[in-house]
Symmetry: C2
Subunit: 238 residues, 2 copies
């Protein structure tokens, strides 16, 4: 099967993506503007900060990260994207990409020419509504992340990060209890604003508490409820 030929009509993650709520005829219009490129290889760059916005991307398989560079040229990771998630929504405001996007794995993506998407949104109320909803949800997720980073300890942040990934996989009917971490611990540390050493030590601690297991990159959540509770609520479950 040539994965590049999948269409929105038969895409397994269409219910998480823009086609939600669209009539079949409408999905066809959307499908017609989608470009399906050959897979991006690990570390390949999709777009760079400052380039002018041409396409919005949706992830079909694999995983992407977005990042900016600080004054010293260090990566500052701003997001990870798994299948069904939409990348570059923050570029619409002024028409230029606001970050770099890079594949963490071999990844399939759909590229939507923004100008065509915008005019289609003018013709299809369902698409307009869905686009606005997707953006609203991203604002909401960002605010949740903000609270997480702002108010929680390092161990809660890491626990919440893992639970968040797990939930995102679950929605996509992927295994939510055992999965491969698509990013390195260096990336996790960067994203969560901590030192790699801290991430390593905390994974060990979470294991000691029988909350999860980590072998190489494969993570197994041993006790979902306790892990959520650990991540969410009190500060002192020692």
């Amino acid at each position: 099967m040539n994965t590049e030929q999948i269409r929105c009509q038969s895409c397994s993650i269409s219910k998480l993506c823009l086609p939600v709520m669209l009539a079949d005829s409408e999905i066809e219009h959307l499908d017609n503007i989608v470009k399906r490129r050959k897979p991006y290889q690990k570390d390949e760059i999709l777009f760079r900060q400052g380039e002018s916005l041409t396409h919005i991307f949706t992830v079909r398989s694999g995983c992407l990260k977005t990042f900016t560079l600080d004054e010293e040229g260090n990566e500052q990771i701003t997001g990870f994207y798994v299948p069904g998630e939409i990348v570059a929504l923050d570029a619409i405001g002024n028409g230029t990409y606001q970050s770099y996007a890079k594949a963490l794995d071999t990844s399939l993506v759909c590229a939507l020419p923004y100008s065509k998407l915008d005019s289609l949104a003018g013709q299809m109320p369902g698409l307009r509504t869905q686009l606005v909803k997707v953006m609203s949800n991203e604002i909401l997720d960002d605010k949740a992340l903000f609270l997480l980073l702002n108010k929680k300890t390092a161990e809660q942040r890491l626990g919440a990060f893992i639970m968040n990934l797990s939930r995102r996989y679950a929605i996509r009917s992927l295994s939510s209890e055992r999965f491969q971490l698509p990013m390195t611990q260096v990336d996790i540390a960067n994203y969560l604003g901590m030192a790699v050493e801290t991430v390593s030590r905390l994974f060990k601690k979470l294991h000691k508490l029988n909350l999860l297991e980590l072998k190489h990159r494969e993570i197994t959540i041993l006790n979902k409820d306790n892990l959520s509770q650990f991540a969410g609520t009190s500060c002192h479950h020692y």
Copy 2:
């Protein structure tokens, strides 16, 4: 002059708000759905988390804060809104308000019934585009805030917060070098994820460095360039 009677056509902040790029006739349609309520008093609540979304709000004067409550019932401030800014965009995704909104001062707001706004966006491409742009910019701002909180020291966060407020006032043609802080130091500490004591000490330090002055609630930025630099770049300007 009755401020409740101001219309979009003559509103001084319309260029920051939804009417951007709309034709006069279109602005009139928008103006027709806007409800201008009597001023909210300090501490009055506009909406509560969990209530179903009826209106999107734009601030005309004063200042609002949005917040959620944690498990113990503590306020977790998620944003401050000054004139021209739009509140409740994160509620569109699932149709319920995702936070509380409260006036920090006597504040005038415009209330836009969301269903009407949405259908108007279907008829007016300019409005649709502007709505999407406003949302995209909010995503961008949230990501910038994320980087700020995640990678910077407490003093950089406070410096950046003040510069951010100053810039937002400047865009609105309000004085950007001397203005009243609309929120308490407790609120600032909460928002930036630090202890009140730290905020107090850092204001003192910023004063000692001749970057700003704070009397009661009135803040004067003494050296904009140095303050930005202090907030943005290096970690050790002692």
